[in-house]
């Protein structure tokens, strides 16, 4: 994990190095300061010197502290540059991964948790790179430099330093392990807290309906309390480590002071080196103490990184092909074939599709009907390349679909989903999702075809009206019509419609059916529906039942067979 994180900083090697270098210079300057300070005081206190005599040393002292200030300021800037670059890199990698893992992955996960990972998780690494890492380097260099200077002056003190110093990382390690586990749990709780709150907020209307909304306040308090307890548990331990480190530092200073004092008394050491060491003692322990303080921030970063790398390491569902002669996108000569295709969802026992074989002929309307849960949407998901079949083969003009890049494939299709997503943007932007460069006329035509003209005209801001989250201001039917308009705008050779008219009343449904008919003319179209008005004119209708193809044919012949299809039709009367 550590090496992977370090590799992230590779692009900012210079900044990282500068940070450490500046810190080290700052430390050396501190030593210089201590030297001149002790000399000055020695000369005045024991040497009886006057102000003029020590002015030069005071001047050097002044210069040293000015430089030290500059160095400490510079460190902030360089450390920040490193942190920003790392966060940027990691975030974009994470997002690209999520995009390539697709809805099959993000659908099962919680949006709140994933956004927490992408935002707060990545941000947690800021402290790791801008505070923890540089401090770790400093904690190695500066005490060493001090040690090298102190030993020749007073070996005994050197020994005290030498013995106490390793104790600090040792204790840090010991306590750090426990804190790490606790921090990881804290981070998980935070993620779950985010997801839980998002859930509650999005479903607030439902909760109110069920009269459960007021009680949720209690649940939130419980969740917050749990978060507090876990975090306090972490802090109690991490503060303990800080306590130990500070005790070590302070006590060591005390020990050194007493020991030097006694030796001074006996005349084994003179005043100036004694004072020098005393002034240095805090500077010896300060980097180590600072490291201890920043340790828990560093551990939070590690925990967050772990979760992010979990996602980054998740294997991709679709393997990109080795060689790929790109066909005319979506346009097929002989159609799309499903040959004995099977698929099971990981969380369910029964397969969603079992040995399904069917053909979607080019340029005509194919319909897929069946009871709810018969596998229709699964088939659509396979065509949309969100999932890949467990068994069997899907071919396009004889070429396996798996050999075509999903993005290439999707560029040639338009999709009207069961629950279209409306983004927080203007209505116009939502429409142009399928074709960002669409002209005003094209958008207008799509609106007309989808029956949205009147609605848009009634809005004071027209196409510039912002849509609430998930189109809260729009009815189900209006959202569906926007999805249909998107498909019109796209003008793609392959069209997939998943229950396009399920929320619409008969008048609107028939209007849209006319439009769909127009849109589907000459295009390869797959319609999934149980509104049979829509599928009546399909060239071929497949009836799915329990994940298998039960019947196929056109409307008239299926009616004659008096089987499942006929049953569905009569049920509608």
């Amino acid at each position: 994990m550590f090496s992977r994180l370090l590799r992230l900083a590779r692009s900012r090697r210079l900044a990282l190095g500068s940070t450490v270098a500046l810190g080290w210079v700052s430390g050396l300057l501190a030593i210089l300061q201590a030297w001149f300070l002790s000399r000055t005081i020695d000369r005045v206190f024991l040497g009886g010197a006057a102000l003029q005599d020590v002015l030069p040393m005071l001047a050097v002292l002044l210069a040293a502290l000015a430089l030290r200030a500059a160095a400490s300021g510079g460190m902030e800037l360089t450390a920040n540059a490193v942190a920003l670059a790392v966060k940027s890199e990691l975030r974009s990698r994470l997002l690209q991964r999520l995009s390539r893992l697709g809805p099959a992955f993000t659908g099962g996960e919680r949006t709140g948790e994933l956004s927490a990972a992408a935002l707060e998780g990545v941000e947690a690494l800021d402290a790791y790179f801008s505070q923890y890492l540089p401090q770790a380097a400093l904690a190695a260099f500066i005490p060493l430099s001090v040690l090298l200077l102190v030993f020749p002056l007073d070996p005994l003190t050197g020994v005290v330093f030498l013995l106490t110093a390793p104790l600090i990382p040792f204790f840090m390690y010991l306590i750090g392990r426990t804190a790490e586990n606790l921090t990881r749990r804290q981070y998980q709780v935070l993620g779950r807290l985010s997801a839980y709150l998002l859930d509650v907020l999005q479903g607030l209307a439902t909760l109110k309906l069920l009269g459960q909304s007021r009680d949720q306040a209690g649940n939130i308090r419980q969740a917050s309390d749990r978060f507090r307890d876990v975090t306090l548990g972490v802090l109690r331990v991490t503060f303990l480590s800080a306590l130990t480190l500070e005790l070590l530092g302070a006590l060591s200073t005390a020990i050194v002071a007493v020991e030097i004092g006694l030796r001074l008394l006996e005349g084994n050491i003179s005043f100036q080196p004694a004072l020098f060491i005393l002034v240095l003692a805090p500077d010896f322990y300060q980097p180590l103490r600072a490291l201890g303080l920043r340790f828990h921030a560093g551990m939070s970063g590690m925990a967050a990184a772990r979760r992010i790398y979990e996602i980054l390491d998740t294997p991709l569902p679709v393997q990109p092909p080795a060689a790929c002669p790109t066909p005319a996108r979506g346009r097929t000569q002989s159609g799309i074939c499903f040959e004995r295709v099977s698929f099971s969802y990981p969380s369910r026992d029964l397969p969603a599709l079992q040995d399904v074989s069917l053909e979607i002929p080019p340029g005509s309307l194919t319909a897929l009907v069946g009871a709810t849960g018969a596998g229709k949407s699964t088939l659509a998901a396979l065509l949309l390349r969100f999932i890949e079949p467990d068994g069997g083969l899907i071919t396009v003009d004889g070429q396996p679909l798996a050999e075509i890049l999903p993005d290439e494939w999707r560029a040639g299709l338009a999709w009207v989903p069961q629950s279209p997503y409306l983004f927080n943007d203007t209505l116009g932007a939502n429409l142009r999702l399928s074709k960002p460069g669409a002209s005003h006329a094209e958008v207008g035509r799509a609106l007309a075809m989808a029956g949205l003209e009147d609605f848009v005209a009634s809005l004071p801001q027209g196409l510039d009206t912002p849509l609430g989250e998930r189109g809260a201001r729009l009815s189900g039917g209006q959202a569906q019509r926007i999805a249909i308009a998107r498909a019109f705008l796209r003008d793609a050779p392959l069209l997939i419609l998943d229950e396009p008219t399920s929320s619409l009343d008969p008048a609107l449904e028939s209007q849209l059916n006319a439009a769909i008919r127009q849109l589907a003319f000459g295009r390869t179209t797959l319609v999934i529906a149980h509104r049979l008005n829509t599928v009546r004119e399909a060239a071929r209708i497949y009836v799915l039942d329990g994940g298998q193809v039960a019947e196929s044919g056109d409307h008239a012949s299926l009616l004659q067979r008096n089987g499942l299809y006929a049953g569905l039709v009569t049920a509608q009367a």
């Binding site: 206190f45 002292l61 002044l62 000015a66 200030a69 400490s72 300021g73 902030e76 800037l77 920040n80 940027s88 974009s92 690209q96 993000t106 099962g108 709140g112 935002l119 800021d126 839980y196 709150l197 998002l198 479903g203 109110k208 009269g211 909304s213 939130i220 917050s224 507090r228 306090l232 109690r236 306590l243 005790l247 302070a250 006590l251 004092g261 008394l265 004072l275 005393l278 969380s347 560029a411 069961q418 629950s419 927080n424 999702l433 399928s434 009634s458 004071p460 009815s475 189900g476 209006q478 998107r486 619409l504 009343d505 008969p506 028939s510 149980h530 009546r536 569905l568 049920a571 509608q572």
Partner: protein, 577 residues
């Protein structure tokens, strides 16, 4: 100012803890300074070769301060963080309680992604309010006083100089940071909220983005949002760097000046030489008291922004208010609607334009009509999500406004158009309707909703987790779960808003039959644009453009020349061709 006052009000309940934390903080700094001062005294005295007995006090002092510093700091940290978390929990709950009455009427203009940013990010920002904004100045004040008194004991001149530098490093730097930090602080909070909202869009809307090849485009948008955040963070870092540098400079300069002033005092005999090191080291150590202050100022700005946003949302007036002493609503209540008018704020046309009907207990009524005719709006009004400005709704003979909202809603078993499933097990989703329901009751309701067999086919059955927003269930399955949930509430009246919208015709028939059985004897308002299974309804209202244009039974309306018949024919075209 007002915001600060309100934030402080949150702390008042735990003021004793806060005071303790401040005291501990000041004592910690005192111990820190004393450690160095005593050590310097020890060495300086030892250099004069006194008897060891004279050194004893200093030795004990050094050891004592060494230990107490660590212990005091540990205690202070625990106490202040405990206070902080309590504060946070209180704020979260207060905020939820404030917005709970607002949904769903107000939420149309906010995105829940944005709202989540408000709660989580802003409240977490407020986490810093006590520890990093409020406590440091108070601690610094006490520590400064102590240090001045200590220095003054040697020479007033030194105390003045030191105090001047301490104030410069404390207040001066703070003012500088406040002035320069306002812009970056605001930018930081805003850009972070924006990024989070875009992230939610990108993850929840991933399917649509992928299909239309806009994933890359949205990704670019996210990168832009991120660079905005990073730009703000870079500005912040520059400010922090300046601050850090000035802090170090002033601390060093302060100690330097004290030394520079003390030397002539020693030469002139006004001060003992032994104390020279003491004064110098104590001056150096004293700057620890003010080093957190500029940072406090930075955090203050961010905190105020966050608090402002929270208050803005929480202060919004709810659409619907409960009466001070609500009446009690009987289980079976007659519903009576008279001349109801309603227009959505900002809409030009009224959605409901004079609706009247009676729904006594046990009556089964259907409300049909084209989309947008106002059917769902009527349901919202019956459930008191809105209050109608004109006309009246009476329950059990009293105005609906006389009852508590929650009571009204609990009396109805509702299936709404877009059923929401929580990320929890199916059983938990069902139990929401009736937390004390037994497994038998749950299964019975699911059987009636034609869902029980499906759940049986899942490997974990009722314990199966519904993915976020129930995404792993198909539309029809989600609908049936919502129906089962409504049946579980065992309410006196039912409102079904397009309950069979996503179901195939066969399942639709089965569900309608089952619903008919389950709702027998209780009032039912069935809202739909599908004219299926309405033969048994006691009355059907046909709604068009906010008005009731036809009333009657199915048999009667089917023979009349009107909207109902037109809808019927359109719907069943599949048979006639």
């Amino acid at each position: 100012m007002n915001r600060i006052r309100r934030l402080l009000a949150f702390i008042v309940p735990s003021w004793r803890w806060s005071l303790l934390a401040v005291a501990l903080g000041a004592l910690t700094i005192g111990a820190s300074i004393s450690l160095l001062a005593t050590s310097a005294l020890l060495i300086s005295t030892a250099a004069l070769h006194p008897s060891i007995a004279e050194l004893q006090v200093a030795i004990v002092g050094v050891r004592f301060f060494g230990i107490s510093r660590g212990v005091l700091r540990y205690a202070e940290r625990l106490v202040s963080h405990n206070t902080t978390f309590r504060l946070l929990g209180d704020i979260r709950v207060w905020f939820y309680r404030a917005i709970e009455p607002l949904a769903p009427a107000r939420f149309a203009s906010h995105r829940s992604g944005d709202l989540l940013a408000r709660i989580i990010t802003d409240i977490e920002t407020l986490e810093n309010f006590y520890v990093r904004v409020l406590a440091p100045p108070l601690v610094a004040l006490v520590a400064l006083l102590g240090t001045s008194v200590f220095m003054g004991g040697f020479a007033p001149r030194l105390a003045l100089v030191l105090l001047a530098f301490l104030l410069l490093a404390g207040l001066g730097l703070t003012a500088l940071t406040l002035g320069l930090g306002r812009g970056p602080g605001r930018a930081l909070v805003e850009s972070r909220a924006r990024l989070r909202a875009d992230l939610v869009d990108g993850i929840q809307g991933l399917p649509d983005l992928l299909v239309y090849g806009q994933a890359e485009g949205h990704f670019q948008r996210l990168r832009q949002a991120e660079s905005r955040l990073h730009r703000a963070q870079r500005r912040m870092a520059r400010l922090t760097g300046l601050q850090s540098g000035l802090n170090t400079l002033l601390a060093g300069l302060g100690a330097w000046c004290v030394l520079r002033l003390a030397i002539p005092l020693v030469s002139g005999g006004e001060m003992q030489g032994v104390h020279l090191a003491v004064v110098a080291l104590a001056a150096m150590a004293s700057f620890e008291a003010v080093q957190n202050l500029p940072q406090a100022a930075q955090y203050l700005e961010g905190n105020l922004q966050a608090a402002g946003r929270l208050f803005e949302v929480a202060d919004a007036a709810p659409e619907v208010i409960d009466p001070p002493s609500p009446a009690s609503l009987p289980l079976q209540a007659a519903i009576s609607v008279r001349d109801l008018h309603f227009t959505y704020p900002g809409a030009e046309q009224p959605t409901l334009d004079g609706i009247s009907f009676e729904l006594p207990p046990g009556k089964q009524m259907a409300l049909v009509g084209p989309s947008g005719a106002g059917k769902s709006t009527l349901a919202s009004l019956l459930l008191r999500f809105w209050d109608a400005p004109q006309g009246a709704i009476h329950l059990a003979g009293r105005d609906i406004r006389d009852y508590a909202q929650e009571d009204v809603r609990r009396r109805f078993g509702v299936v709404s158009q877009q059923a929401y499933l929580f990320h929890a097990s199916l059983r938990e989703n069902l139990l929401l309707a009736n937390p004390s329901a037994a497994q038998d009751g749950i299964e019975a309701a699911c059987k009636q909703a034609q869902l029980h067999d499906f759940i049986g086919s899942l490997p974990q059955g009722y314990e199966t987790y519904a993915g976020e927003r129930g995404v792993q269930l198909s539309g029809g399955e989600r609908q049936r779960l919502a129906i089962a949930r409504a049946l579980l509430t065992d309410a006196g009246a039912f409102i079904f808003d397009e309950p069979t919208a996503n179901l195939d015709t066969v399942t639709e028939r089965q569900v309608i039959a089952a619903l008919g059985q389950a709702t027998r004897g209780r009032s039912l308002l069935w809202i739909t644009h599908r004219l299926v299974g309405l033969e048994g309804m006691d009355e059907i209202l046909v709604l068009d453009s906010g008005r009731i244009v036809q009333r009657g039974t199915h048999a009667g309306l089917a023979t009349q020349d009107g909207l109902y018949r037109k809808m019927w024919e359109l719907q069943n075209r599949v048979l006639f061709s």
